[in-house]
């Protein structure tokens, strides 16, 4: 259980270096601003005449997912690569910690920092939103919070794992930003490209069904899909919320979001811990 000592130290360092407070401020301000602008201008930012809780949740989720992924990169890219580059990892491993303890401890510590800041930010922001809306719906808001925290855990795991694969922070930065670039910014065209090539260098009139799960591969898409699974009623009512595939297949369901998030969690844990445990430090 010595990963707890690593996690505790990691968390305490974030508190001491004020990184936690900075994150907290970012999420509180962001969340409050989002709630305010949605309830104030539902037509402009949400696309509906009437502001609803569902609209607030899906509006918030779109922007929060971007912030969570970016802050996860900033907070975590140096988690292990940074200590390896400096050499402080040697002091850590001179103690009775296995490498797996260090990996898990770092993961838990950084998750704690990011999710605490995120949770406080969302609670404050959604609280303000509920007051402005004049209606308080605890269940959907709680489910939204849970899904967003799950998304944060997945992103932290991805970035810490990328950090665990290398002993150089510049490579860790490249890896984390490359991941973000490929999966969050450019991914829309990747499945299209695959279809284009598979179809003999031309786009078919109708997209094949398998493009749907491929489209959901980015963690943020999977997160929105998972939200649809958790809050089907709100998703149907909120424009931009519904993410239905528009056809029948066993995988064309919003629950696919959880599968994809689980996929990222398992794959990055496996790759990160394997690379770190077997690295020549």
């Amino acid at each position: 259980m010595s990963w707890t000592a690593v996690a505790k130290k990691d968390f305490r360092d974030a508190v001491q270096s004020r990184a936690l407070w900075a994150l907290l401020a970012v999420f509180v301000v962001l969340s409050v601003v989002l709630s305010y602008s949605y309830t104030e201008f539902p037509t402009l930012v949400g696309g509906t005449e009437q502001a609803t809780v569902g609209g607030l949740v899906f509006f918030t989720s779109g922007i929060v997912s971007l912030f969570v992924s970016l802050t996860a990169i900033v907070v975590c890219y140096k988690a292990i690569a940074g200590e390896r580059e400096l050499g402080s990892i040697k002091l850590m491993l001179a103690l009775p910690h296995s490498r797996r303890d260090v990996f898990v401890g770092k993961l838990v510590g950084r998750t704690g920092v990011l999710s605490l800041a995120l949770a406080v930010g969302l609670v404050v922001g959604l609280g303000v939103g509920s007051v402005l809306l004049g209606s308080f719906e605890p269940v959907p808001l709680a489910l939204f919070l849970v899904a967003t925290l799950l998304f944060a855990v997945v992103y932290v795991t991805i970035v810490v794992s990328i950090s665990a694969t290398t002993g150089s922070t510049s490579r860790a930065t490249t890896g984390a930003l490359g991941f973000f670039l490929l999966f969050e910014l450019l991914w829309d065209v990747v499945p299209l490209g695959i279809v284009y090539v598979a179809n003999g260098l031309s786009l078919p009139a109708q997209m094949p069904d398998w493009i749907f799960p491929l489209m959901q591969l980015p963690p943020s898409s999977a997160y929105v899909l998972a939200l649809n699974a958790l809050l089907p009623d709100l998703a149907d009512a909120a424009p931009g919320g519904a993410n239905a595939a528009g056809f029948d297949a066993f995988y064309a369901r919003p629950e696919l979001g959880f599968v994809v998030l689980g996929f990222w969690l398992v794959v990055s844990l496996a790759v990160g811990s394997y690379r770190f445990v077997n690295a020549d430090l």
Partner: protein, 265 residues
């Protein structure tokens, strides 16, 4: 991990955690090992008491090394592994390091350290291993290494009243490989097992007077060169003699690895 709890390690090329104090570093180790040591006491052992609340980012290399040693000492380990412990230490610090190693050893701790500083190794180690280009070329006590390399001991005796007969008598001894007289300087080289005292007595018995003498034994440095210079490597078979004798019961009394600079690590 159970083993790891009883080992103290001073790694090589490490970095302390900037913006943490010496006390915080020690507390981290104490918490992890669930030890009962006090940070202040540990720091006074390594001569760093005044720096207890100082940010390690401001530490000199020697202070860093002292703190790292204090961290290795937490929990009174049964085995201390020190990688180049005297890096960055001034002569006083190096001596303090040596004294601490000896203290720990006296308390029954096995100390294993690597060093390029032969005098240090020679001063404290019971057993020495030499690594050349990543290969272990010798493990033995310093005495054993001397024997195995067949390096000779040169005895220089200042004599009065010596003549050719005295030289002949000494040269006739089985443990003497050569003897020559130049003025009153009588230079005798001894075989590895030779008795210095026997030679001195023989000179005396042959009628000459021993005024003074000096001994030139091969230092660990010579032995190291002997073991790591290509073409002069000693056959491993010769090292078996006496290799295991100090591994008897009870705590081992310290051992060291002297590493060849060109060894790939």
């Amino acid at each position: 991990m159970a083993v790891h709890d009883r080992v103290g390690i001073l790694p090589d090329r490490y970095r302390l955690y900037d913006s943490h104090t010496a006390q915080q570093h020690l507390e981290l180790v104490i918490d992890t090992k669930q030890a009962t040591d006090g940070p202040a006491e540990l720091l006074s052992r390594v001569g760093l008491s005044e720096a207890i609340d100082q940010d390690v980012a401001t530490f000199s290399q020697g202070m860093t090394q002292r703190l790292a040693l204090a961290m290795a000492l937490v929990g009174d380990p049964d085995l201390l592994i020190l990688d180049e412990p005297s890096t960055g230490l001034d002569p006083n610090g190096a001596r303090q390091m040596r004294e601490i190693i000896q203290e720990e050893n006296d308390r029954g701790t096995t100390v294993f350290f690597s060093s390029h500083i032969m005098e240090q190794v020679e001063a404290i180690c019971d057993r020495v291993a030499i690594i050349n280009r990543g290969r272990l070329v010798a493990v033995d006590s310093i005495e054993g290494l001397r024997d195995a390399t067949e390096t000779t001991t040169t005895l220089t005796v200042t004599v009065s009243g010596a003549d050719d007969d005295v030289v002949a008598t000494v040269r006739a001894r089985e443990d003497v490989t050569s003897a020559s007289l130049a003025g009153d300087e009588f230079v005798v080289t001894l075989a590895p097992e030779g008795s210095k005292f026997g030679v001195l007595q023989a000179i005396d018995a042959a009628g000459a007077t021993v005024e003074d003498f000096s001994l030139d034994e091969s230092s660990l440095e010579d032995l190291f060169v002997e073991y790591t210079t290509p073409g002069q490597e000693v056959e491993p078979g010769e090292l078996d003699s006496g290799g295991g004798d100090s591994r008897g019961g009870g705590p081992e009394t310290g051992s060291a690895t002297a590493e060849s600079p060109e060894g790939d690590r």
